[in-house]
Structure formats: C-alpha cells, structure tokens
Amino acid sequence: MNILVEILVCVLLLIGGFFVLVGSLGLCRLPDVYTRLHAPTKATTVGMGGILIASMVLMTYEQGYFSVHELLITLFLLITAPITAHMLAKTALHHENRALRRTRSQHLIASAREQQPPAAPDSPNHD
C-alpha cells in the first residue's frame, strides 16, 4: 500500500478519534446542562468528519473507484447536529434546569422560555 495514502488515512483517523474522545470527555466534565450541549454536538461533527473522510480515502484507494457515499453521512450529521442541539436546549429551558451559578444574564432564561423579547435585567425574574 502506498505509504502516503496510509499516513494521510492514519492522521485523519487520529484527529477524528481525538475529537470524538474530547467531545465525550466534555460531556462528562462540563458543569451544567447548557455547557454540556456544546461539547458533543461540536466535537462529534469534526470527529466524525475525520473518520468518515479517512474511510472515504481508504475505500477509494482500495477499490480503485471513487467511493464518496460516506459524504452522505457527513452531510447528514452536519445538517442534523444544530437541530438536535436546538431541541435539547429547548428541552433544558422548558424543564427549568438550573444553570451554573456564575452564568451571565440568567434573567434571559425566563424570557427565552416564554419566547418573549428579553426582559430588563432588573425585573423580578432575575435571581
């Protein structure tokens, strides 16, 4: 097997694996539900992207014709990741999950839940 292709595939795989691991580590380490939303939805898009592109390169090289159908999964994940994040953020808001104490502008949580324009910072909703 061509050494250059092998190195390329290995580097892509290692990048992908690193980001998948960091995403899950973030899921464990981050302190509250809103911050936890960030780690997996972001890190898995590039992590999966790396692994899928590596698979694409390897399959193209081994089978001798363009094997691009992994792009479909990459595209699907890229389109669905923000929707999942949005739905989860909505759910967390709806369940009135406690944000981290030092989170800034917590008075926005109440108006975001009610889908209203932001209330003034000194309103009674502020805690």
Partner: protein, 89 residues
Amino acid sequence: MLNTTIFIVSGAVCIALVLNLWRLLRGPDLSDRILALDTMYINSIALILLYGMHMGTNLYFEAALLIAMLGFVSTVALCKYLLRGDIIE
C-alpha cells in the same frame, strides 16, 4: 501501521462510549440523558465505520447511515415528547 491506528482509534471511541454511558446513568436531568444517548448513537456510527475499514468492506455503510437517521429521529422525538407531552400534535 493502519491496523494499529484503527485499533488505537477504536479504543478511543470505546472510552468515549463508556464516558457517555456514565453520563447516561448519572443524569442528573432527562435532557442530560438524551444528550448522552445522542452522543452514543454518533459514537457507535464511528465504531461501525472503523470496523468496516478494518474488514475492508463497504457493507457497513448502510448500517451506519441507518443508525445516523434513527438516532436523529429518536432524539428529536424524545425532546418533543418532553416539551409537549406528545409527539404528533
């Protein structure tokens, strides 16, 4: 070299799955558990693709695509259920 790398990356994805499982069991809220489940779906796609690369076949691609679609739909359905108490209004 390639086989070693695939082994290492599979190990990393497995550790990631265990971390997700920990979050799934620990909670503390339902939205945390759904988030953990969604991440588990995505990580299992990675694992299936790595296995496909190890075996050198294209056959596992369809399985990965199906898991991606089912994972997305089930996450959205669960969120919708928690939001409204109903999936189809």
